[in-house]
Symmetry: C2
Subunit: 199 residues, 2 copies
């Protein structure tokens, strides 16, 4: 199982946005949309062993937490606009617990610390960080969670919360990448590990 948690520090928390202006009027929700693409899509298929949690932390009603489950998800397409429509639909809800808004898509008002505490204790936490261990040298178990920010690093407080889970700090290369590209590189590394273990 691969789990990604992406913090959208300014991402809009209402459905009151236009699909025509995703990068301008949504607090950079567009970054999270591209992360959804990178998390799930492979050639002619969707990764069923992946789950992504998008933390929307912007105005007007933070937090809104959208969890997308690869083993259940339907109607997901690679383009930004259609994923935005699915998330906008989820944001119409103001659930008390976690509510399914379409197959494989769940919305809640869980906080970041609740999200982390809900992740299986079996899952090794990883913190994507420039000064971490090279991902290619890192040992991976079967269940891995990767936490990263949008275009902003984790705040000191968010980092402190994550540190309670003893994450491994991992680096993806000598350059700092966009969040969606980070997910692609992580997926490629884990694909190689799984393939090696099956040989």
């Amino acid at each position: 199982m691969r789990r990604f948690v992406v913090l959208g520090h300014r991402a809009i928390t209402s459905a009151d946005f236009k699909l025509d202006d995703l990068s301008g009027s949504t607090g950079r929700l567009d970054i999270l949309l591209r992360c959804v693409n990178s998390a799930f899509f492979i050639s002619h298929d969707i990764r069923r062993d992946v789950e992504i949690t998008l933390m929307l932390l912007g105005e007007p009603r933070p937090p809104k937490t959208v969890r997308i489950v690869g083993s259940e998800v339907k109607y997901l397409n690679p383009d930004e606009r259609s994923t935005a429509a699915l998330i906008r639909n989820a944001l119409l809800q103001r659930p008390s617990g976690e509510k399914r808004t379409s197959p494989g898509i769940y919305v809640s008002e869980r906080s970041y610390s609740e999200v982390l505490s809900n992740i299986s204790k079996e899952s090794q936490m990883h913190y994507l960080k420039e000064d971490g261990e090279d991902v290619r040298q890192c040992a991976f178990g079967d269940d891995n969670t990767f936490v990263l920010g949008d275009d902003q690093d984790l705040t000191d407080e968010e980092e402190k919360t994550l540190m309670e889970y003893s994450p491994k700090k991992i680096s993806l290369g000598p350059i700092s990448y966009h969040a969606d590209h980070c997910l692609t590189v992580v997926n490629n590394e884990l694909d190689r590990r799984r393939n090696a273990s099956l040989r």
Copy 2:
């Protein structure tokens, strides 16, 4: 220098499309848009040593060839819609040679074989192919060109044309990826090589 050539087999060759329906009405131009993002964007910057050539081969007037030059490009943003607007603007032109339609963006009616023949002889060609050599084992020089299809493999004829340039066949992992994810993985590998050579 890194060069990418992406063949959009059905990609629309007129400006007669809506920015609101990029994945439905453009012959999968959306795939090429995501490739532009993967080719250029790094955290808080654009890769200046990258050039991408999008081959639009669909109706009504193929080919249309859009070349984007990282060292010159302006007004490029990571989202699909704004890149689509830049390309739509280029497609309004019917140039005799190659015409600059905005800084760093050029449109022409060059064929695929012309595009390949215009690439510097110094540039090593690479063909992204599942049965190729593992990219991590591949030796790279300073100037590299990578050729790949959109969601369709190269046709036999396109492959034959490419073979005239003695490309290295390279594979990115055990799974077949979307074209934009391929570019991200290639960029990550070359970032690592350059960094190693600078040490």
